[in-house]
Symmetry: C2
Subunit: 966 residues, 2 copies
């Protein structure tokens, strides 16, 4: 029955005043119009939103609506926001940065900018949990993996990590695990970037490891150290630019059983012998210079590749090939059993959100340029560095490194004087120390830029300025012969046939056409908050004033960014009720780790470093226990009662039992069962009474804004998923931002960053860049500013209403597993499908696949309970869409077994199913108008894990020109 609502002339409110803006965001963000919301409320038996909220949210934890309204966070209309963003953009100084240290400016090929980065088909989907409707981005991630394997010469690569620094930490932990957790010293070369060192230091702490930094050759030569060493990390080329031969080192380290990890640079590897060819066990780094501008720190995709023997210990998501039910090849997430959502505190990986969108951009960059194009870019970057070096040498400067790819470190009389002169010329150099500066080149440097740069040095040396015409291109490489790359790379056709824009465009759109995303229909993935990612919040992101800023520039150059950061921190504090925030963590899981580390530092500051027990409910997301372990905590599980709520008795008993060692309690609120528990404050009190701190997992904050908040619930620290509640698009599995907000007493311990001015006295950095993935903070900033406090609160209210309305539509047909004493759920709902297994042998996945036939992305499956689906509609879905899913779900209660389909099968000549083709493909009439065809049939997971293939199939050689036939 149609539920189109009359939305004609009468339905839209006239603005309050002639002078009020008309392009207000709330009505564009929130799906149901006011008249529809009223209808839904009355269907649920309520006269007002307030009455409904009274039943849904425990009154004890409610905060006054004035805590988050337009008076505290005034609303900007869309055009007002864009104007303000434009003003702030202008407040970032346009400088040319040669700072390097792993961050480079990059040219985004326009075809990739527009058709990937700015295309909702690519940036809006979630992690490809449902591979049948995600073959496009899965193939692209396999391109990424293949590219990394090919360039690094390693056997296997994952589909991205958060950044180079955390990737290095993962390597270190891998080395530790590889030693059977017996050897706890990790050696790090002094050529490794300082921000990496900082992250290694803190991450070592959780495992009681020791990081020793020094000249790696000297350290390894120390025989007394060797028995304790699980591995080493070198950087290639190193932070000062030098390209060193580590082949001997690798032999030595392998000799005493250690692993060799190498932080490296994909562009340099087009010219340098790849780590896989000289014996590295792990290669890692940052792929950003493949078409992802620095954005004041991120996001970008780190890569991580290992030798075959380490593959089952590798962190992060891995895409592998398998086959579908017709035997056709198909991609899907491989080896998921390694991941924290299965292994919890025993996981070797704590990556949930990673950097899929940025990995796809980097992969597409390689597809577009191909091996020859990349090589050409590398030659240019190297050539510029060479010209720079020989020029400054003629002025009398000495360069520290003889070998280099793109970076030269120059000895100067006074670095200060040089920096001043450079800044005056619009140039940032790398501050090394008082008598050295670093200069790194990237593909964006133009000949004019080069001349300007050289002339800063000319003038410092009182030499006469050079002109472009006077510069001589070098005739040989500045890379040692022994380190020159001789092997081919990127030989697969995908990297060799998409070099014209037309071919590239078609490839990008072809892959996109395979994926079902938010541009098609609701993605009610519980706990993922797949809400609108508005266009206006995405627009400033790709302005060069935000894109090309290096993360380590002086603060006085980034007033625009700092305003956004300050305002966002303030607003998040208002929303959470906390006192201070750090935007550094690059994902929810990283936020958890940061928050727990803050708690540990707090205990330590009070002489209670021994507190190391962390209570975690069984229903918690897998990242929670995994993070706890990484922070050096011991996990003690807490039970739930039959109604899904926390077993306060059990909590109390365990808190008291571990009283002296209790560090923290981690709780998700509303719980992962989709209910606001009334006892949350009591639970927190129990913890506090026993000396512990409360960590609130804020993944479900979308249920809370303006209604309650983590501080009021009793938490001391929480992380937020800006990529959920605050509308950063999920990018097909990242980027994310997982800021933490903390109460007053924890504020001094928030992460510092030692490359930045006034690093603070907090814990070591948890990410490579001081403000994490700074550029996408613009999205959440815009989201908050455009909704304003009142719109934010309304969004949470409608999120609750949509979920409860959906629950009502399904109840009677499905077993709603948990609800509160008033019969209400929070912002998501858990339905249990166990009965169907009993009655008809139908599993959760059968329902999931059948939903695809109806054009819907399945909800979260078998989590947090294996027989359940967790459904979160969010506030952005309209009544019509919710009704559409509601009707479908009621229908496929009856017909789940009717069959799953793919387009190809549908045209197959023989059809031997017990139901008609038509019924399978078009179970309902609307599908004749709007049908999404999955491109493969149901995929066989086990087969793929047993026969692990994670790269594109490599043809031995491409056919040559002679094969053309007319």
């Amino acid at each position: 029955r149609a539920t189109v609502i009359a939305r004609g002339l009468a339905s839209l409110k006239q603005p309050s005043s002639l002078f009020a803006p008309l392009d207000t965001f709330t009505e564009r963000h929130v799906g149901p119009e006011d008249s529809e919301a009223s209808a839904m409320l009355s269907k649920l038996g309520y006269k007002s939103m307030e009455e409904f909220l009274g039943d849904a949210v425990p009154s004890k934890i409610r905060v006054p609506s004035s805590s988050v309204d337009d008076a505290v966070i005034p609303a900007f209309s869309e055009s007002q926001l864009l104007k303000r963003a434009r003003e702030l953009a202008q407040k970032n100084k346009a400088m040319k940065s040669y700072i390097g240290m792993g961050y480079h400016d990059a040219v985004v090929p326009p075809v990739i900018l527009r058709n990937v980065m700015e295309n909702p088909q690519w940036y809006m989907p979630y992690t490809p949990y449902q591979p049948e409707i995600a073959q496009g981005r899965l193939e692209s991630l396999v391109n990424f993996q293949t590219m990394v394997m090919s360039l690094t010469g390693m056997d296997i690569a994952n589909a991205s990590l958060l950044d180079e620094a955390t990737a290095a930490a993962e390597a270190m932990i891998m080395a530790y695990v590889q030693s059977g957790q017996k050897k706890s010293t990790f050696l790090v070369d002094s050529g490794v970037s300082p921000q990496t060192l900082s992250v290694l230091r803190i991450r070592a702490k959780g495992f009681g490891m020791k990081v020793v930094v020094g000249d790696i050759a000297t350290l390894v030569a120390d025989e007394s150290l060797r028995p304790l060493v699980n591995g080493v990390l070198v950087q290639y080329p190193d932070v000062n630019g030098a390209c060193k031969d580590f082949e001997g080192l690798a032999k030595t380290v392998h000799g005493f059983g250690g692993l060799v990890a190498c932080a490296t640079d994909l562009l340099a590897l087009t010219m340098l012998k790849p780590p896989g060819e000289w014996g590295a066990d792990i290669a890692l780094g940052n792929s950003a210079r493949f078409g992802v501008p620095p954005g004041y720190g991120g996001p970008h995709a780190a890569f991580f590749a290992v030798t075959d023997k380490l593959k089952r210990k590798m962190p992060g998501r891995l895409i592998g090939r398998s086959r579908d039910s017709t035997g056709a090849p198909a991609y899907r997430l491989a080896l998921q059993t390694r991941e924290q959502h299965i292994r919890r505190e025993k996981a070797t990986s704590n990556i949930c959100t990673s950097q899929a969108l940025l990995a796809n951009m980097a992969a597409m960059y390689a597809v577009f340029h191909g091996p020859a194009g990349l090589k050409r870019i590398a030659n240019k970057v190297h050539g510029f560095a060479q010209v720079f070096r020989s020029s400054v040498e003629t002025f009398g400067f000495a360069c520290v490194n003889d070998t280099f790819f793109d970076t030269v470190t120059v000895k100067v009389d006074s670095a200060n004087v040089l920096h001043k002169a450079a800044v005056a010329a619009g140039i940032n150099l790398r501050p090394v120390d008082s008598t050295h500066v670093g200069v790194s080149f990237d593909e964006t440097v133009t000949p004019d830029d080069l001349v300007k740069l050289i002339n800063v040095f000319a003038s410092a040396a009182d030499a006469s300025p050079v002109s472009l015409a006077s510069l001589q291109a070098p005739t040989s490489l500045s890379v040692p012969d022994s380190l020159r790359r001789t092997s081919d790379f990127l030989e697969h056709p995908v990297f060799n046939r998409h070099h014209s824009e037309t071919e590239m465009l078609r490839y990008i759109h072809h892959l996109a056409s395979k994926d079902l995303g938010l541009v098609h229909s609701m993605i009610s993935l519980g706990s993922c908050t797949m809400k609108l990612n508005s266009t206006s919040s995405m627009i400033p992101l790709t302005w060069p004033e935000f894109g090309s800023v290096h993360p380590f520039v002086p603060f006085d150059q980034v007033e625009g960014y700092h305003t956004v950061i300050r305002e966002l921190e303030q607003d998040l504090c208002r929303i959470t009720g906390f006192a201070a925030a750090s935007l550094q963590p690059n994902s929810g899981a990283a936020g958890e780790y940061a928050g727990l580390s803050v708690i540990r530092a707090y205990h330590e500051s009070r002489g209670e470093a021994h507190r190391d027990i962390c209570l975690i409910p069984l229903s918690a997301h897998g990242t929670n226990p995994a993070s706890a372990v990484m922070a050096g905590l011991k996990v003690v599980p807490v039970k739930a009662l039959a109604d899904g709520s926390l077993d306060l008795e059990d909590l109390k008993a365990k808190a008291e039992k571990h009283k002296d060692k209790l560090a923290a309690f981690m709780i998700t609120y509303p719980s992962t069962f989709g209910v606001f528990e009334a006892g949350v404050q009591d639970a927190c009190k129990i913890i506090h009474d026993n000396g512990g701190q409360v960590y609130l997992d804020g993944a479900n904050l979308n249920a809370q804004v303006g209604l309650t908040n983590p501080a009021t619930c009793g938490g001391d620290v929480c992380h937020l998923n800006l990529h959920k509640t605050f509308a950063i698009p999920h990018g097909g599995g990242g980027p994310g931002v997982g800021p933490i907000c903390v109460a007053e007493h924890l504020a001094p311990f928030l992460p510092s960053h030692h490359v930045m001015e006034n690093p603070g006295k907090g814990i070591d950095a948890v990410a490579g860049a001081p403000f994490g993935s700074a550029s996408i903070l613009l999205i959440s900033w815009a989201y908050i500013k455009m909704l304003g406090g009142t719109g934010l609160a309304k969004s949470s209210q409608i999120a609750l209403l949509n979920a409860n309305y959906m629950a009502a539509r399904l109840s009677g047909h499905y077993n709603l597993r948990y609800k509160n004493d008033k019969g209400r759920v929070a912002h998501e709902l858990l339905i249990d499908l166990a009965e169907f297994d009993k009655s008809a042998g139908l599993k959760v996945m059968d329902f999931a696949k059948r939903l695809q036939d109806y054009g819907f992305h399945p909800p979260t499956c078998s989590w947090p309970i294996s027989t359940c689906m967790l459904i979160e509609p969010t506030e952005s879905e309209s009544l019509e869409e919710i009704d559409r899913l509601g009707r479908r779900r009621r229908r496929w209660r009856r017909g789940a077994a009717e069959g799953e389909q793919r387009a190809e099968e549908r045209a197959a000549s023989d059809w031997n199913k017990p139901y008609s083709r038509e019924k399978a493909a078009y179970p309902l009439p609307y599908l004749k108008e709007k049908k999404f065809w999955p491109t493969v049939a149901r995929i066989d997971d086990a087969y793929g894990d047993m026969n692990l293939i994670v790269r594109l199939i490599c043809l031995p050689a491409l056919p040559t020109l002679t094969s053309i036939s007319v």
Copy 2:
């Protein structure tokens, strides 16, 4: 057999110098790499490109390669171009314009900006000639038609015209035709915009009509005029802002058999009684303020709507509903028999390219805002005008008009003084005369803007400045009661259910998913030049510095635009060999009209106004004869020889016969048969010897650049389709730009524009804006600058090579209808399928539809010869893609009858075709990986024309809230 070419490390050229840019455009634009081009050449039996060109292009007409190379047009790399565009953008002064006159700034909803305007799925396809694979944009154009009908209250509307001024001219001609071409006076109210008057004047000339301008009531009262009058044009509201009641006028005019045309404003019609309700026969205007910023003149979609009785005389494209072979509803181009491509010189319409993309944007704007949202915008605009008016009245200014929607004309002591003060405040007012200024409001005006504007008047009157707080919102409308709109509008659900961004986004992507475009595969539409529309050339277009410029601002505010315009004119002159250019015409057909009018003016200047014979080959595009008639010329057809070339004997005979009255000869070169004829210079000489001028239709210029040019061929004037050769995307059927280039002796007659400074002494304006669709000139400018002369020439060379290679692949399998004496075609080829009709009853359309099953857009069908297909691959297609089509075409020679498919049928339970489903859907294996499913089956054209339905089906009323069921 695979023809993937080794494109590995060796294949890409290293740049000439370390300092050369790497992001050079030519290699991104041109499909085949150099190694592939060599292979293709050798397959054709040539050792070099030069040798091939020697056979393909007659040597007599070749120009030296130095005429178009990097020395004359230096090449910018993509990033250099974007930098230069950014600099030029900054040279347009950011002003707030209140000039009005039919041009308004507009807010593009970001979701439409990104997902329509900046989305190649929407901007790259061609006119929906193949409706089965174009249902998305067809539906959107029906939305446009429905929106226009609903807002104007008319019975039928077309799918856009070029601009308001030419739409008014079409109305005038319709009135003339309606009078049986007997009454030749057309009355125009003095409230009509001056640029419209200018276009009316010149267009009247061709038909020997008289345009009388004055107060319409007075004119109509003149009984002596009435017998001569075929119709009247009024503007509602008029250019000065007044809203007049024309109901009485309409009665009077109908009384003496005339038609009433009304230029109007869609936004005003949300508030004003629509023309259809007070008796207008024709309503027309500009839809730009529905989300299409002015762009210094365009592009934007004009609308044109008529009463039912006039529908078969309506100009322009019309989309109608029909049914497909399964009986399902489907859209397609309706009543094509009215159009010039069928009716040629007898056509009532000369619209080929119109403004589809902009019509789609305007329609989407209405879909997004819905009736209530539009009304809200109208209220704001009106309210601001009211506040302005009452404010300036308190300063003592008198306003000329008591009634208004958005425009107020103010009497001042010295307009000059006021303009100076306004400009100093960053404001442009409309110059009316020395004692009046005009002020028009649009939705972009903010309260701050309003205050600033009012204070310009305050200060001129020595009054004290106002503040926002002091401004009072009006309480009643300034529209006469009798003219208030009382009827509802936009009641169809499409305008009432897509008001959240999520819903809008899904609707846009749903429609896009139905259309096969250049993002999928080659579109080898002969004569349409579907080449790459590069992203980098599209990027500057949507920068506000180019978008929000009013076309009538003083020249000193648009240095950026004027640089682009000057450079583009120069480059086009270099390329064509001509002396001067006009960028004013908004399409190829409009260019033809302009060029012929220039020729007429030239003859007139020499006392030879009587020259009115135009020779046109039978093979010419239908727009040629239609344009000739519009320019007042009589068409005399010229025959072709059996080999497709012009019959020079016949030409000579006819030229001599009409010697005294010969005005012009129109020729397309290379001819529409796809061959360079050697005799072109001889033909031109014949014409010149007999006192005529040569008009060269430059639609095929893509075959010529750097090889020959229209001047060398012997032409005096040519038009170019910037939307073909110079890479403006086709937008699904527009926008286009059809500039004309002329020899020295014709330069003085190029179109003027009387609203602009120094209008020149040329013919009257042929379009509403001085530089036509100025903003998209950026695209062609960027295209030319990025390729540079050498890249431009290379593009033409590869276009020839691709076509000849394709011809070679098909020959032996298909009858290649024409080639030159060396066996070569030009940039396109004509294959004749007549034999298949004889042998198997297969028509051209059977082949076309079957090609869709292979994922290809069919080539141009049955034009210029009914049994033929005209195939133009363009230089942007890679060897691989050409081979793919080549193989397909050879295969469907055998299998054309195997069946055409649509997704729905494929799943139908019963299958009664003589071939298998599988064979129908997947005739070749690559289709399993990449299959485009048409959304409807073959469409019945005749049925649709007999049962003409051109709007969305209107539900009587929307179901109300009570229908929700849980």
